[in-house]
Amino acid sequence: MQGPITDLFINIDLYSALQVVVLGFIGGVLSGFIGSGGAFFMTPGMMNLGVEGVIAVASNITHKFGKAMVGSHKHGEMGNVDKKLAMYLLLTAAAGIRLAVWISSFLFESGDTHGADKGAGANLYISLVFVSILTAVALSMLKDVLGKKNDGGAGPSRKMVETLARLNLKPLIYFKVADVSVSLWVLLLVGLATGYLAGTIGVGGFIGVPAMIYIFGIPTAVAAGTELYLAMFMGAFGALNYAFAGYVDLRLTMLLYLGSLVGVHLGVYGVKVVNEKVIRLVTGVIILLCVFSRAVAIPVYLRQMEMLNIAASWDGWLNGASKALLFASGLAGTGIIMVNVIKAYRQRLRLKRTIAYSSQPAEQH
């Protein structure tokens, strides 16, 4: 089929469909394991398949919306959702998403060429935000993990929580489920940043979850559950906006589901059987590799915008390297998780839970 639609959406054959399913599976495993959407892997992965950045983000945020709706319901049953906190964050997250969609659409529409080069500005912008934000997240995560003594139960740092508590920025709002009091101003700022990033790179959870843990001081399980609840609304809002703009590729969204809804079960199981410190270490390394992968693709967009003078033949190599790095990081991370999952599953079947038993003669007191 020829025409404007084929400029916007890629042709999907069996091979590319399978690649999207694999992206979804890896994203699902990682999201189940890490607790954030997994978009950091799926969005650039789709871009490497030739999907325009804005289409990749739109299709992924729509995918995230449906998944979050199902997932947050399950988290709610487990008591991990602070709806009041999510509603406060949502107030400004909606504005953040609107801002992000406006910037992305503007950059995409202002591209003065056709085909791949048209979206170069938007792609460059999305990639730069992706690289800068996720570098900061990954490095702080690794610093937090590697800087702690190996006591097996090292909790997240509470320095920021304590600093903000000392500042006592009123009004403070108490959240019953999370059992914390947070300044309204901090809430609004975090909501805005979460919404902006969710709308820009589809990874609001990478800001939302750490912010809830490190800035608000709430338990990890509640942070993940609340973020998912928030993601449902933000995803709905993002999906509405992108769908209205005509950027959602329903086929990509559905193919992502085929992989992610299987992978997420395995990822969640992995959290139960892997040491918390290892979880955070693996997460940090995976994110950092994804950042490298996206950074490698930036020269391509710069060349397409005529801001960098390199031969067009380099595009293939750079995109290939980016793709290889991304898949290497995703596959390595998923491999580590899957090895642990399978090991634990087999152990569980074999030992039926009771693995140590000892008996000793009584010595009554």
Partner: protein, 509 residues
């Protein structure tokens, strides 16, 4: 033998009463402050723990571990004192929560004379009236925060107290005399069941204390309970490598018949009036526990005014179970009791037999009896935050079927509203756990619908994308938007349920 525990936020008032009482009873007087000092000498940083609780400045995991160590030390120390002295008077902030389920403990709540306390504070700290009031207010807030963290209950709650004394209306001497008289009542005599409950509490506390002191196990997150001299230790799967050290450390534990170590991610609370190890409910609960890697904790719920008095056969967790369990082995008549070992299995609603079976399966997480209703259940659940699910089984058995159904539903609703945990009826659990023909049909239906939807979408992919992506009229854009946001959750729901059922079928949850 009498064990009297006096609780009050005002240290001087409770100390004065406890010393007077100990002198009258001819027993020993111990205080929270003494035990704190001993705990600090034993290497538990109680001062830092207090600061951390008040400022919430230490990671929760570490606080929880320190709390566990501290509570087990205090319980263990109290047990030692109780075993060395015929009469023991202990005074602390919320000491009534330290020996749950032991019927020969008298729990006294002391309300101090505010005016007198203000005068004493002003004199001791050289403060004016306003500052003294402010000091007392902050002191009470700090104590309330400490009690909430330590025991998961409010300091003002009167649940579990046997007597409240207001010193504004009576002298210290009269208060001591009243408690002395009360200690003579047959209701507070030792019974075989109460001695056994105390023994299990002490055994579990000593085990937890030993584990906390040893560097091999000190940093592990463990659940410890004891029943009839049998100690059960549950640990997390991530700690499987360190788990063999548990048995090694507990080798020096005196009084234990045996030690069973069980790997468990969490605890399932099974709330019921009667248990049977050969019932379908037992099969469902244990099946779910095995899937989730959980231990099962039994809580027998009996009415407050039940004819068969509740029997505390075991503590769920010596550290956190602080519910108002009030065990009575036999109806006290005031006469001479037979010195015969009771037979709890006859009156315990199958608790002991079910616990025995769970132990043999490596799934036992504790067992206890609770008298009361929803309020008591909520208090008990809040005091032990390791649960991930509450299953309401057969309760209100003395009522007719209709009333029983309604009361059970009301109880589940009451508990659901007050705790952040899933609460299931046994019917819900059966629906979730059993993977029978019904579930298989559902899985097949969802999968078939998913296949049809995918076939349709990918057969007409370009017309659909053209409809969604082409610029058109505003009305068309709105229709396309509504189509996307309605259709996508439907796909997620159908495929999510399909994969969820598949993983359940594979027992991969």
């Amino acid at each position: 033998m009498a064990i009297v525990i006096v609780s009050s936020a005002i240290e001087s008032a409770r100390r004065e009463l406890a010393q007077s009482l100990a002198a009258k009873l001819g027993g020993v007087c111990a205080s929270r402050e003494q035990l704190v000092e001993q705990a600090t000498l034993a290497g538990i940083p109680v001062g830092k723990l207090e600061v951390a609780v008040l400022k919430q400045s230490t990671p929760r995991e570490r606080l929880a571990r320190l709390k566990s160590r501290y509570l087990s030390f205090v319980t263990s120390a109290l047990c030692d004192l109780a075993s060395q002295h015929r009469n023991l008077v202990y005074h602390g902030r919320a000491g009534n929560l330290l020996l749950p389920g032991v019927s020969h403990v008298i729990r006294i709540r002391l309300l101090a004379d505010n005016e007198r306390q203000l005068q004493q504070t002003m004199a001791a700290l050289n403060l004016d009236l306003d500052k003294a009031k402010d000091y007392q207010r902050r002191l009470k807030e700090d104590v309330a925060r400490w009690v909430h963290f330590m025991h998961g209950t409010e300091v003002d709650s009167l649940n579990g107290y046997d007597l409240v004394l207001n010193l504004a209306h009576m002298s210290m001497e009269s208060a001591a005399a009243a408690i002395c008289s009360m200690a003579q009542l047959p209701d507070f005599n030792e019974t075989p069941a109460s001695v056994r409950a105390l023994g299990d509490l002490c055994l579990a506390a000593r085990a937890r204390d030993l584990l906390g002191r040893d560097e091999r196990t000190g940093d592990m997150d463990l659940g410890v309970s004891a029943q009839d001299g049998r100690v059960t230790v549950t640990y997390m799967p991530q700690q499987a490598d360190e788990a063999p050290a548990i048995s090694a450390v507990l080798a020096s534990l005196q009084g234990a018949r045996e030690v069973v170590c069980t790997m468990a991610l969490t605890n399932l609370l099974w709330l019921s009036e009667s248990f049977a190890p050969d019932s379908p409910d037992f099969a469902h609960v244990t099946e779910l526990a095995q899937r989730w890697g959980a231990a099962v904790e039994l809580m027998r719920l009996v009415p407050q005014d039940a004819d068969d008095q509740p029997v505390c056969l075991a503590s769920a967790d010596e550290l956190t179970a602080a519910g108002p369990c009030r065990p009575k082995e036999a109806d006290p008549t005031g006469g001479i009791e037979d010195d015969v070992e009771s037979k709890p299995s006859a009156v315990d609603g199958g608790l002991a037999a079910t616990a025995e079976r769970l132990i043999s399966l490596g799934l036992f997480g504790g067992g206890r009896t609770l008298a009361g209703g929803g309020q008591e259940v909520v208090a008990a659940i809040k005091s032990a935050p390791r649960y991930s699910l509450v299953m309401v089984g057969d309760v209100f058995m003395s009522k007719g079927p209709a009333v029983r159904t309604r009361l059970s539903r009301d109880l589940a609703a009451y508990v659901t509203e007050r705790i952040t945990l899933p609460v299931m009826s046994k019917e819900d659990l059966q629906a979730k756990v059993v993977f029978g023909a019904k579930q298989f049909s559902r899985m097949a239906l969802y999968t078939a619908l998913v296949v049809v939807i995918y076939l349709v979408v990918f057969s007409f992919q370009w017309p659909i994308q053209e409809f969604l992506g082409s610029p058109g009229s505003l009305a068309m854009k709105v229709v396309a938007t509504i189509a996307v946001v309605s259709f996508v959750p439907l796909v997620a729901y159908l495929f999510g349920n399909s994969t969820g059922l598949l993983f359940k079928w594979l027992r991969f949850e």
